[in-house]
Symmetry: D3
Subunit: 242 residues, 6 copies
């Protein structure tokens, strides 16, 4: 009953190592301390930053703040409707928000946010593959928006971002290495990696592996290198728009 | 720390009985059977319709379908961030989605959807007062989108909508009757009604009353009449855009 | 398998605008700070007031207290047994307890209860229609019991009740306007309003509308006026018994 | 702030081995298949029997039915108000409803209820010690009410009760063995047993032991014998009223 | 599909009043303040003691600490796998951990643990009947381990154990009184008691009764005496190994 | 208050690229269809395989079975006690059990288990770093135990394991690449990868990255290669013991 993307049209003329167009807009929320809306192809993420004036027990007494991420999909962002209650307890959701939290804590110097907790909410408005890497970049853009506003307002004196974040998925579809899989490619991939990098091309995290059959280490390294390159290209596109 | 609307600018030149501009777009979701995005001033709702091929026990064996509504706010659609888990159990949320379900079941003839359950998800992307009445109209627009597609596709032979829905809030602020309160007005209102009407100006539901001090029946009726009128005007605006 | 009321006997000689007999008893609990048991026809409510020496965050620092209501049905107060866990998460329950809380906060001047939270528990022992309006009056009677005891004990120096509360349901059954629907009438009603009034006949809240087909505004106002009248009559009966 | 029983008045002239007066009324619910309201001193229980036309997996295919019990306290049946959500997960509640279920399954021959599940709800309206033994007897009275109605209606051809149930608490307060402790005695008891017996004086279950210091086996047996006797006396009182 | 014990081999040469061999090892956890692993036949329990520097509200201000027990079964400690979430809400689990808490609070003088809460976790690694009595003894051994370490370390100056704990199940299988039932015997027992005693043969708690048919008081007392004897024998075996 | 490992003794003479000793025992559960207990240094895992005769919806109608993994820590397997309820909802737990499920589905050919779901439970009895990689190997050993039993019993005609699994953590501590970090090393690591390989040295999954500062791609690849090597060595040790 749903409107399925036509699988034959999947890459729509994209080269194998070409990501989908990335479009980002900062400052989209009237209420949040920082925000961004980001589209990567048909995948759309709304990210907001909220600041609370408290820290969890393991940070108390240290001269820094804390940051945590939440990821959630709107019930009908996907082909089949997802139940809200079940969605909150979903294992995939927990896996992704832990990945996001680790990445954002690499990007930001939390010593500028003493006794504060930053919560980055990444909500998927529409999903067509790559929601976790799109969330990395949307969340980074919202953090950038926050810092920009606070520096302009004089709340922050120094620029607290240690490094911008780029991210991309890279997969093995048939015998091809393909960058930035959409949903129809992702469903057929033999291997699938998510690669997060910093502005100077260093690795923040790699997550992923084989679907079905294990892959040779040299092929894995080739995928990884393609991911590092592609994530850098997307990051360059993101930075031009901030 | 949040960007508060300036209360003195609240009505921004609107007359007391003038609603905020309503903008609606149909067919905004690639996955949902029907969808709409609606803005009423700064309040923004994304509504989707999903169809499941089953009905709850109390409908089984009857020659009709069922319809239920869900309402939820994105964590940072409001001034203070809302916790997701607590949000799901929130009493206000339950109150609103029961109101929405009753209204949509008046609007739609469910005998055209035998053995099916329609789920209308109304997600608040940004809140500035009036989210429940905006959800009534966003959900109605998504239902209209669904029916339009299904009639065009030949899945439905008859137009199943019995009546379009308009809705508005009306309040008593100081001694003024005001239509379509934004957040800053709502917080000061002495009485607050939500009025839902059909295309021929009949009443679907009225909900609301005094905040603080009870009000005379004749004043209540005056508020009600203002609401019926205002809801009709918004409905006319909505219909021009579908 | 259950003992159903005979529908033909529904109104049992009552006139269309005549409510069922109301019987109330105060001070029925050995433990609660205030309490009442109220019967409206076969509907029976046990209401208790509990006082806790704390207030929720949004009241702290203000020179007043807070009041919240809980509503629950015993598992077999109804024709089919209700599961306890599901009952607690039930949307209808949340809708009713929000209505009750708003009404009781109109009735009581909370500046006499600084730094205290009053919890009004309305438990349905037996249900035959009208449980929410019976709960409004049972809860009011329990509040009256509380205030009476505290004034006599010298804990309160002033009478803190701003206004007594009366409430009734009014519906459209066939072409008749009927007051105080029992379960069998409620199931057939084309429209159903719950009206809450104060002792001087002002409106606290009106909630309700069409079941199936929308109704003309003038008919809605007629129902509303019948409800205001009927609620006043029940309130007079209630006050004679306190 | 609550109305406490005067501890000095605790036994109110009762002999040490004398239980409080027991008053029971059958058929108190219009909806339930069987019901009873029972008072033991100031402790008051409402018990209902509900029948569902299904059995849990471990009974399927056997030529019998199933029976389960639920026990719950109204929020203000006790001196301090109990939170409803926490109350449902309460360990004491689970312990008691398992005891009740075992006892009722001894009392009733479930081969007369094939493919049916009987649910006995015991709700504490007011608590003053002994709620679990009062629930045993209230639930038994509700079962008796059910059987009586079904035999009269011809739904059951044989009397399915194998044995009536009596129950009492017995404790060691100071050096005295006391029967049927009220709340103030229970709080001071050095040992506390709950004893359930059948009509012919046999033991269904004994539960309990030392509070603080262990007790000699011969003293334990003395307590047990006092309990068996007292439970029999209460059962006789119960049966005279059914 | 599971490996069932052969029921004909059930007692494997044991006399009717002979318990299964008990093997206990102290100090098995690197992290816990006290710990023990105990086998009773094929039933295996891992018990740990954790100390938290806070007490629940009802203990605050008293010159003592608090102790609570948790009991849980690993998902596949039993013949059929148990769901983890359901396992936590399981009524039997709550019943057992309340029994354990009461017994351990008799064994230990909590005035030596002011402002501290001891949590005894009893996790069933493998179940073959008697898990609750094995947990009593495993938990006692872990408490003994804790006290021994703290006295040696000088954290405690006095030995805080008031009495060691022994425990055993005793049942009526056919017409035989049997001690320490394994799973296959337990499933056939007509009556089943759990008896907990102290080192000087006093009773801490007795829990249990008839399965199916009530039993004569004198037979109940005979079972009780067999249990007191058997629990003492197991306690002697336990003490030799500590 | 807990018994902490001495950090200076952390590697206890191990070379930087040397894993801790691995000890595994198969067939340790009387009830499970397959089982193993595995120690990697002081980290100890109990893994069981359970088979249920049903599959989730997305597998129905396919000619294969399904496999899912659960991971849990006993409350006191760690330095600070973990609350059981919170533990079940823990994000880290969900992240790990998704990793485990993917790895086991690579290892096993599920076409031999049509219409069956295999549940692999990995319970941490004691934690000292590396619990997720130890769980990969413990779960694999339990799967091997299952297959061995079923082939011997004739339930399976072919050997359904596609590939054995080895796994290890590899980290950057100071400037050293270290294999198989224990808890004290893990807490200081600048980068931390978990690497899972098959018997022929191919990659199943890599998960991990920087802690604090991003790392150069070439260094990441060096860590990855060390992990592939180390995982292979542990797998060889595991296979010798099966």
């Amino acid at each position: 009953m749903s409107v399925l993307p036509n699988p034959s049209a999947a890459r729509q003329g994209r080269a194998l190592l070409e990501a989908r167009p990335l479009v980002v807009e900062r400052g989209v929320s009237r209420h949040a301390e920082g925000s961004a809306r980001l589209r990567l192809g048909h995948t759309e993420i709304l990210a907001t930053v909220s600041i609370e004036a408290k820290v969890p027990p393991h940070v108390r007494g240290k001269r820094e703040g804390w940051l945590m991420a939440e990821y959630s999909m709107l019930p009908r962002s996907t082909q089949d409707r997802m139940n809200r209650e079940r969605n909150l307890q979903n294992g995939r959701r927990h896996e992704i928000q832990r990945l996001l939290g680790r990445a954002f804590r690499v990007a930001l110097d939390l010593s500028h946010f003493r006794n504060q907790t930053l919560i980055i909410d990444c909500d998927v408005l529409e999903a067509d593959g790559g929601t976790r890497v799109a969330s990395v970049m949307a969340g980074y853009a919202a953090l950038h928006d926050l810092c920009d506003r606070q520096v302009k307002a004089g709340t922050l004196t120094d620029w607290p971002i240690r490094s911008p974040l780029g991210a991309v998925s890279v997969g093995l579809v048939g015998n091809d290495i393909r960058l930035d899989l959409d949903y129809s490619e992702d469903a057929r991939a033999r291997a699938d990696l998510n690669v997060i990098v910093t502005g100077d091309g260093k690795v923040v995290e790699v997550q992923g592996g084989a679907e079905g059959e294990a892959i040779a280490p040299e092929l894995y390294i080739e995928l990884l290198r393609a991911g590092v390159g592609g994530a850098g290209t997307l990051l360059a596109s993101l930075q031009r728009q901030l």
